[in-house]
Symmetry: C2
């Protein structure tokens, strides 16, 4: 837990439905940490490009990794502005009117420029954290990266400085005159749920797989 509240910038200020805006790092970090993937936006040849990828957060920084050959990482490594957005869906909001249908969600957005992580120790720490982000407990079991794999992996760091979150919770908000309509209204919660593990060998299935939750 931290008490950090980020300053609002022209980019991070939530203008549309401002009551949903959150600028405290606790809220932003919790969303970044729960979401398995993010969508990274950048500008390539003047055109917007949005790519899904895995991220992880360590303290005040967000990290990404991938092949140095991947277009997204090449662009970000060269100092392109990035916009990283993560969205967690919490439920369908079925209002009485079509107009007020909505979703309960928590989203976070981080703006900034990424930098390559070149320090070997930091790189190893980030790669372990990326595995832990996806599945807590896994990095102790998995065979760690060798020198060849380290060379084949580009790691980028994006400071969480210009960021905000947007959160909708609760029941539908209908027009006053619609509340008497005989139409079911409410929220249908949604969660990302693990199924039965599909093993690729005969080793014992670890607890972090059988009891996986986010």
């Amino acid at each position: 837990m931290s008490d950090i509240v980020l300053e609002q910038s022209d980019k991070t200020r939530v203008r549309r439905l401002p009551e949903r805006g959150r600028y405290d790092r606790d809220t932003i970090d919790a969303i970044l940490d729960e979401s398995l993937i993010c969508h990274v936006g950048f500008v390539a040849d003047g055109h917007p490009v949005v790519i899904p990828t895995i991220h992880t957060r360590i303290g005040d920084d967000l990290y990404f990794h991938g092949s140095p050959a991947a277009g997204i990482l090449r662009n970000l490594r060269e100092g392109a502005d990035a916009c990283v957005t993560v969205t967690l869906l919490d439920g369908l909001v079925l209002a009485r009117s079509a107009f007020h249908h909505s979703m309960n969600y928590r989203s976070a957005v981080v703006f900034g420029k990424a930098e390559e992580v070149t320090d070997r120790e930091e790189k190893l720490r980030v790669l372990a954290a990326l595995v832990e982000h996806v599945c807590r407990g896994r990095s102790a079991d998995a065979r760690g990266p060798n020198e060849k794999e380290l060379k084949q992996t580009l790691v980028l760091r994006l400071p969480i400085r210009e960021a905000s979150a947007k959160v909708r919770t609760g029941p539908p908000g209908d027009e006053p005159e619609d509340y008497s309509l005989p139409i079911w209204a409410g929220v249908l919660p949604l969660t990302l749920t693990p199924g039965e593990p599909v093993p690729d060998n005969n080793a014992a299935t670890p607890d972090y797989v059988t009891r996986y939750e986010r």
Copy 2:
């Protein structure tokens, strides 16, 4: 089902792991239709911005809606280039090596310029389709938009012409020498699962809520 295969462009060609690329409209459409939300990227004042929003597909077009005051719609309405990305997570791929950890996923990306839908009938059709996209069966029950709400809603159309998908399925792909390691490896499937509906009134809960699935 259609037999349409889109031509690859510099933007849509899957360069990284090209064997995961798909260019047939059936695959692209199925991903767009299953995903509850998309992430829309555009360039504002030279900076990339990525916003989550609800979409729906009718035939060869993707549609978005929202307040005319929302920054995203204002930008797209004015002819900004858009990149719309949807991503469905199907499972965690836990390999023997940290390096080969991955996810099973299906993503689709659509590039283009959006146009405002001004025809009243098309607009009404799209607004019903947006509700149906989120919850099939709902648009027949919900109170439809009145004139004031229609005016307050901007609807945009983006043709699905420059688009591609990227799909990963199946077990981990480890290095040959790692297969003998005594580490559990496999896939943990993930699905977006509905929970118990939270009613906002005493009307009977419709089947499309109690039996919701995507």
